[in-house]
């Protein structure tokens, strides 16, 4: 089956960069320590409810989000598509009997899933070794969590893919990319959990797909959100995914009408 082959190819593509993986893991761990100490100190000093977070669930939030950070495309949302539009290599993508999105999405999914192995799992291990056991009991959080993570990896890729497609009109998308990276990372709940946002900001975040890229999978995987709420998280993720799929297809269709590949 073609799709599976593409996912596997992305998986293997990412496996070529072993040293980069180690470097990424080291960075994830350092920032994990920093975030964990800041947030736990804030929790200790807090007199309020702290959105229901306990020491354990806060540690789970920090370390699971650090673990997912390599797999979801958030802080530096650069994609091959963006580069290819800029250089004109996108012409080659249009020579293939698949949609522009399918050709890239499946491989991106494979790359993301591979990244979970060398960067995700060790980050969680480092976290549990330093702050104690925070993983949930039972099977459900892991099963639903796996689905949620796949949706987040695909969704975050799609967001970056749509930004990259703006290159059909803008050519240079570095500025847009940087803005997207900052806004998406913040609203995804990397710096502060979305539930600790003031009400108006939480409302704003809910109007974007960004929380579904990080906060949602962390909630489901850490067992903070269970049962019907977990299913509702998955449904929201799937809804945003579908919306972004349609947007990506629309942009690709319009972009091709606008495409100018001159020379070579």
């Amino acid at each position: 089956m073609g799709t599976w082959q593409l996912v596997r190819a992305g998986f293997r593509q990412q496996s070529q960069y072993r040293l980069a993986m180690v470097a990424g893991l080291a960075t994830n761990c350092v920032f994990g320590f920093i975030r964990a100490s800041v947030l736990l100190a804030a929790l200790d000093a807090s007199t309020g409810a702290f959105a229901g977070y306990t020491r354990e669930s806060l540690a789970a939030y920090v370390w699971i989000s650090q673990a997912l950070l390599g797999a979801v495309l958030l802080m530096v949302p650069t994609t091959a598509v963006g580069e290819r539009i800029k250089t004109g290599d996108i012409a080659v993508d249009f020579l293939r009997p698949v949609s522009l999105l399918a050709g890239h999405l499946w491989m991106a999914l494979g790359r993301g899933l591979f990244t979970l192995l060398p960067r995700g799992v060790p980050a969680v291990v480092v976290g549990t070794l330093t702050v104690g056991w925070f993983l949930p009991g039972g099977v459900a959080p892991y099963l639903l969590g796996a689905v949620s993570v796949v949706l987040a990896v695909a969704g975050s890729y799609l967001g970056a893919h749509c930004v990259a497609l703006a290159g059909f009109w803008l050519v240079e998308t570095r500025g847009l990319n940087a803005l997207y990276g900052i806004v998406a990372t913040f609203l995804a709940g990397l710096f502060v959990p979305v539930d600790l946002f003031p009400g108006w900001l939480r409302g704003l975040a809910a109007l974007t797909p960004f929380p579904t890229f990080l906060q949602y999978p962390v909630d489901v995987l850490s067992g903070r959100v269970v049962g019907l709420d977990a299913w509702s998280h998955l449904a929201t993720q799937a809804g945003w995914l579908l919306g972004m799929l349609l947007l990506a297809q629309l942009l690709a269709t319009l972009g091709r009408r606008h495409l100018e590949v001159q020379g070579g």
Partner: protein
């Protein structure tokens, strides 16, 4: 039925340029890359599509493949509208852009073929057989496990051709396939293409700057200049029309009076006749025949043959038609 049908095809590009003296203003200017092209290519034909840089060759090819949308006019490739039926068409055509890669540069070469087979949904047995065939004929066996980014240019071009032919397309479009290759690599690639066409009846459309490519691969030549068709016919006809002569330059043992060799024109002498330039029509005689005649008149120390370049052919064609 024609494999390619192009009718009054036009493509404009918008070029934005700064306005002198006004830092923020930019002026949009329309540049017509393809200007009313009309031609057809029949099944099994081998057509050389030549023209100077910026003549509109690559733009035409991109419209044939459904990558670019025409500004006006129509294109039909393999009987379909390439923009509407892009994905269906992609299974039936193979394109090599000499300047762009369709391989995955950070993966071993073999994996690119796996991915392409998956994308084209080739039946596994068929894909394996075809891949083995291409690996043997294009001599890819030695570097299938090498990441694409570490291939030499010659290796990569052969790998690119294999990638474009993996799904056994009925139309093969090669855009500058021999660019940057050494003589031996060029020769091997040409031999392969001749063989491939002979055994499968593939239709071949080739853009190139290299007259050698055209001579060895194509029966028919389309010359495009400033987006317009300047010539459509056989290569020998082209040579006859514009006198695309080759020039034999001989260095002689001692000065001789200007050589008079039948079938050639004496273009000039240097060093009192130690070096002489003789132009000849390659469709009428050969460099060897001319040389044999020269040797009867004088002792030859060294020689070289200059090929007519495409720019020269196009320029002459253009000045003729005015």
């Amino acid at each position: 039925m024609s494999v390619v049908e192009v009718d009054r095809l036009v493509r404009d590009f918008t070029v934005r340029e700064p306005v002198p003296g006004r830092r923020l203003r930019r002026r949009a200017r329309q540049v017509r890359a393809v200007d009313g092209l009309t031609f057809t290519v029949g099944p099994g034909e081998a057509v050389g599509y030549i023209g100077a840089n910026g003549a509109g060759k690559s733009t035409t090819i991109k419209m044939l493949a459904g990558i670019l949308v025409p500004t006006s006019g129509t294109v039909r490739t393999c009987g379909t509208d390439p923009v509407r039926a892009r994905r269906r068409l992609a299974r039936r055509i193979g394109v090599v852009f000499g300047q762009r890669s369709q391989l995955w540069w950070d993966l071993p070469l073999a994996e690119s073929y796996d991915i392409l087979a998956a994308i084209h949904r080739l039946e596994p047995a068929r894909a394996r057989r075809r891949r083995a065939e291409l690996v043997e004929e294009l001599e890819l066996g030695g570097f299938l496990a090498t990441p694409v980014r570490q291939l030499s240019l010659g290796q990569r071009m052969r790998a690119e051709v294999a990638a474009a032919l993996l799904h056994e397309p009925e139309l093969v479009v090669l855009d500058e396939p021999t660019i940057g290759l050494d003589v031996l690599s060029k020769q091997r690639l040409r031999e392969f293409l001749v063989h491939e066409r002979g055994s499968r009846g593939t239709t071949l459309l080739l853009t190139t700057h290299d007259m050698g490519d055209v001579e060895r691969l194509c029966e028919r030549v389309l010359v495009v200049d400033h987006g317009r068709l300047a010539y459509d016919g056989s290569l020998s006809g082209l040579a006859a029309t514009v006198a695309a002569e080759r020039v034999l330059v001989v260095d002689l043992a001692e000065p001789v009076a200007p050589l008079q060799v039948p079938g050639t024109r004496h273009l000039g002498s240097e060093g009192d006749g130690v070096r002489q330039h003789l132009a000849f029509d390659p469709t009428r005689t050969t460099a060897a025949a001319v040389l044999a005649q020269v040797q009867r008149a004088a002792e030859v120390r060294d020689l070289s043959v200059a090929e007519p370049d495409i720019e020269d052919v196009v320029r002459r064609l253009w000045s003729r038609s005015r």
